[in-house]
Symmetry: C2
């Protein structure tokens, strides 16, 4: 389908867009294919509403997106509602209330739209599809590994196989700074230097702070084997050692099931993982980030989850071949041909021709035949 | 999955609800099954955003839901946005702008959520799923018939076959009142009497108004054959006669393709069809209304469309048998069993048992075996 793209952009608010044919159908198909992978592993789908009271929507992990959440007055209750900017807090609410009596671990999945007040400098979108899983009530490295590998399997199911898993420990930097009793403003300076990955600044500030391990861990970032060896060799205070050992256990559990998966480890990265309590993950494809997740608290329960970004997956998935389009003149029946995989398009007036209906085939007797150019 | 339903209802605003397992997965599956039927007939999917500027959202047919539309200030543009209460105005915008250059008729489909400021006395829901089609740029009775029959076919695809089609002519009553030059307040009194289907009041007021055909047409409502005969026999002014003839042509086109379909005709019903310009439809199942649609103007183009209500369809569709759940002990691989239709649920710690994971099967060697009670 051709489109007349540019002149009408201003019809929609910035960061809000129409998905046109064939992309809208492709996105829906890949969301359902990913959810089918989750379902096959026992993840049961929930569908929370787009709007709910802001106090429940912004509780727990929802606090991370409070500034990005559209607010609306509910004329019925006179209370403020939020338009969800993330689905995880809603799943946590469902797990803690309506599914409180279901045995743990609880495996839940979801798919739907989220909305954000503003785009970011990197991504202007203000409405994004999400498809994800939450594994609630399991605290083991096996649980983290299951969730990360389900992301890989879901992407493979839609043809995205060139994927790398980045493992993060967002609690590591705070643990090292706590152990060295580093306080503001030095703490903020170090955080900024780490965020910039400025090795010279980190080295100088970490020495000043009495947290030299930060320098070693910044340098350790890279392919998992080398990074794990460097982590193992680093001189870490007990809390940081526990964090490192846990990451090693999660990576070992992933390796046991997916020996060929490309894994990197970034011990001091923490940006954007504000509510995580353990190992976090990012899945990358050739064109960028495809999913993000990790360990957190779902209410008061240990949990791990992953959110895939179907819009990013759509850009990386190979397009399906379009179905052949069969022209039906008035009175011709298409049921058998639809069952055989044709899209049928019926003429509704004498003005409708195979060409105007963008058909690739017409019927010769009962047999579809390609239209000659 | 058991749920702990009542104590937590107040956590969500009135009319907004969570869909739990297995209903959320069932609803998604039936939406995709219905969209697959539309796609097989050449309807290509679009996905407009949930939010857009209110002036485009409330244009055309959108005016009918203006009072039901949540408004939000866009902090980027400082303009007002609306949270869609209906999808048809958005599809009309897409057809008129980005798809303006695609040959007509244009067949588009969509699925998504809509939100409304308040529930109605009959239906308290404020978020509802919609799945629909729009056939834009075709003015024939064949077009109306195609859209109505696609609704029937989509419902059949999800197992809802006990369906009746109610055909309405929402322009008939205004045409009769216009022809008789009936003005307020008599016009409003007659409309209210028709809405109540109060035959005695209608007869008295219609006689006073000089529009006696209204009495005959009110009595004509019922199974299509009898109603069409009564319409044919009625003494109608020219505009009303054209409306009646068009409805007869649409019904004939439907009958030609679906001779067994139960069709009723209600010549004077108009309530809730505020923007329709020709024949309108309601599809009913045993539990109530499942879809609504009809002819309207998409921008300046003749169009006909249908919206199915997946929440209502879900209540009427037979539940699928749950998939067997196979317990996987650590180290057991489930890929082959998932491919064979099992849901596999992996133990993540020694606490996870087949019973706690609600499994129906365990592996005996490589073979799934039902768990004895």
């Amino acid at each position: 389908m051709t489109s007349d793209d540019m002149p009408h952009r201003a019809l929609l608010p910035a960061g809000l867009a129409d998905l046109l044919p064939p992309d809208a159908a492709r996105e829906a198909a890949l969301v359902e294919a990913m959810l089918a992978v989750f379902a096959a592993h026992g993840y049961e789908r929930v569908k929370p509403p787009l709007l709910e009271f802001e106090d429940s929507l912004l509780a727990g992990s929802g606090a991370a997106v409070a500034e990005q959440t559209f607010r609306l007055m509910d004329p019925v209750s006179q209370r403020m509602m939020g338009l969800r900017a993330d689905t995880t807090p809603q799943v946590a609410r469902i797990a803690a209330t309506r599914l409180a009596n279901v045995a743990r671990p609880l495996r839940l999945s979801y798919a739907g739209q989220v909305l954000r007040v503003r785009g970011t400098p990197i991504a202007s979108e203000r409405q994004m599809p999400q498809a994800g899983i939450e594994l609630i009530g399991a605290a083991t490295a096996m649980a983290d590994a299951e969730v990360a590998l389900l992301g890989v399997e879901a992407l493979a199911a839609v043809g995205v196989t060139d994927v790398a898993l980045d493992v993060l420990m967002p609690t590591m930097t705070p643990a090292l700074l706590d152990a060295a009793r580093v306080v503001p403003p030095l703490r903020q300076k170090l955080a900024r230097a780490l965020d910039r990955k400025d090795a010279a600044d980190v080295a100088a500030l970490a020495a000043e702070a009495g947290a030299p391990a930060l320098t070693a861990l910044l340098a350790a970032a890279g392919p998992a084997d080398g990074a794990l060896a460097a982590l193992n060799a680093a001189d870490l205070p007990p809390a940081a050692r526990a964090i490192a050992d846990n990451a090693a256990a999660v990576i070992a559990a992933i390796r046991a099931r997916a020996p060929g998966l490309r894994i990197t480890l970034d011990p001091v990265e923490f940006r954007g993982f504000t509510y995580h309590t353990g190992v976090a993950f990012t899945l990358y494809g050739p064109g960028g980030e495809l999913a993000r997740g990790g360990r957190y608290l779902s209410g008061e329960e240990p949990a791990t989850g992953l959110t895939l970004y179907p819009d990013a997956v759509l850009r990386m998935a190979a397009p399906a071949a379009p179905a052949p389009r069969l022209f039906l003149a008035p009175g011709q029946d298409g049921a058998a041909h639809r069952a055989a995989g044709f899209v049928t398009v019926a003429a509704l007036s004498a003005a409708d021709t195979p060409r105007s209906l963008r058909c690739t085939h017409i019927l010769h007797g009962q047999t579809p035949a390609p239209i000659e150019d």
